[in-house]
Amino acid sequence: VNAYAPVEIALVAVALTLLLGVCVVAIADRLVGEAIAGGGWRVREALVAPGRTAALLLSQGRTTTERPDAAGWALAPALLMGLAAFALAFVPLAPGLVVADADTGFVAFSAAIAFVMIAVFLHGWSPNSPFALHGAYRYGAEALSFQIPFLLAMLATALPAESLSIVRIVEAQEPLWNVVRQPLGLPLYLVVGLGVSFWGPLNLPDAADLDGGTSVEDAGPARLLWGAARSAMLVAVAAMGAAGFLGGWYGPVVPGPVWMLLKTLVLLALLVVAGHNLARVRIESFVIVCWVVLIPLALLNVFVSGAFLL
């Protein structure tokens, strides 16, 4: 471990980043959704509507089901939010501006991504409801298929840095960003990143054909927290994408942290726009594409990146 921020500062920094990120996702999602629906770019409405929805959900009561696992049900959104926070803690905003600059930051981030399956499965299993459980099994069935290319795409970014520290991974991009050095990496990362955060075309566990899937029984604050946790995971994926492929804080004119924020916002916007413009994939087709196309491409990306280092 190179440096850890004091606990109080770390908590505030991660909480603020998550809060800001979740608000940005909610506003962008509303803005893009309304524009695609033909209502035009209604910025004011997009700024107000998420707050209105949040207030409405906070004012509603919780629902319950017959013999749920109440503790698991309450824990699942907190676990997903916690995993997003844990993952974000290792992503640097600038040199020295990172909550946890660990030599194994890459491993910690990957572990958080792998544990998302536990949170989603718990969320679907605990209400004791068939659609929710079906959603949980969907994520379980596809998780391995997209987590392998996701982690391989990230692993390739560690090769030029010869380190698993995310700060070193960014520093290794000073002469040339990984998005140029590894042109396959970012597209692969973003496609499977949608799966990790079960968003848009890869929102299979919470899909409309399951009437909301794992969140079908959620109401009130629980629904709000689950939605916020999903957005937080999207923020974590975008932030890591900016650090791992877009050179993190490197950029001209404006200070490094501004560049990092801008790059994260660009990736978030891409993911949100993709969510509204791409139809949900069939789970069977997606799993096949993962094993037949994405994993071989991700391996090729790793081998080519390694070959350039020889």
Partner: protein
């Protein structure tokens, strides 16, 4: 329902057909994870006018770019075309290669050069394509029709197929469904059901009409 008992302007019938199809499309898009485009379809349903088939075709072009027909809709849920013959199941039958349409019997429609749009995919993709093309053609037909009135009474080609008093297309397709859903993954089964455009209210109304007749 008025078209069952009295002549009505073809332009009105066809405009209503296109609007009904777009309302179905809105629900279907939400089910496929595209709620914003579903809202757009609903806006289109409220805003289309006769002669604006091009607007629907442009929207379909946009839908193609979402990957809907490539990776979202399943290639399952096929009926045996022989079991559909003569049932008057509208787009479901026409997507299975059967040119069944009450409008062919109407001399006014024939004078307009009407011919049913037929596909032979016989799966949810085919049913989507038939419905969307029929919606676009309905608006073109509405513009051509002028003041022409429908002449066939007692049955009408509804957006779901041949509709008669006390007999709805949904009622006729329901017994065939278990066979095509057997063994499907849940998402594929839902996509197949959505592609059939079942209207249980229409089915209930038909049942109620039969009950009233029997009681009388």
């Amino acid at each position: 329902m008025t078209a069952l008992v009295a002549p009505v302007p073809i332009a009105e019938l066809e405009l209503a057909r296109a609007q009904d199809c777009l309302r179905w499309l809105a629900d279907a898009l939400i089910a496929q994870g595209l709620p914003a485009l579903g809202q757009r379809a609903l806006r289109l349903a409220h805003g289309v006018r006769p002669g604006e088939g091009g607007r629907i075709r442009a929207f379909v072009g946009r839908l193609r770019r979402t990957g809907l027909f490539r990776w979202s809709l399943p290639r399952v849920g096929r009926f045996d075309p022989a079991t559909l013959a003569g049932l008057g199941l509208g787009p479901v039958a026409r997507a299975a290669g059967l040119a069944e349409d009450v409008r062919i019997e109407d001399p006014e429609y024939r004078a307009l050069g009407f011919a049913p749009f037929v596909e032979d995919r016989n799966d949810p993709i085919g049913r989507w394509q038939v419905r969307l093309e029929e919606a676009a053609r309905a608006l073109d037909l509405a513009a051509q029709a002028g003041a022409r009135m429908s002449t066939v009474l007692g049955r009408v080609e509804s957006p779901r197929g041949r509709l008669q008093p006390g007999n709805s297309p949904t009622e006729r397709v329901l017994p065939l469904i278990p066979e095509i859903l057997s063994g499907l993954e849940w998402g594929d089964a839902i996509a197949t059901l959505v592609s059939l455009d079942l209207d249980l209210d229409e089915r209930d109304a038909a049942t109620a009409t039969r009950t009233v007749r029997a009681t009388a």
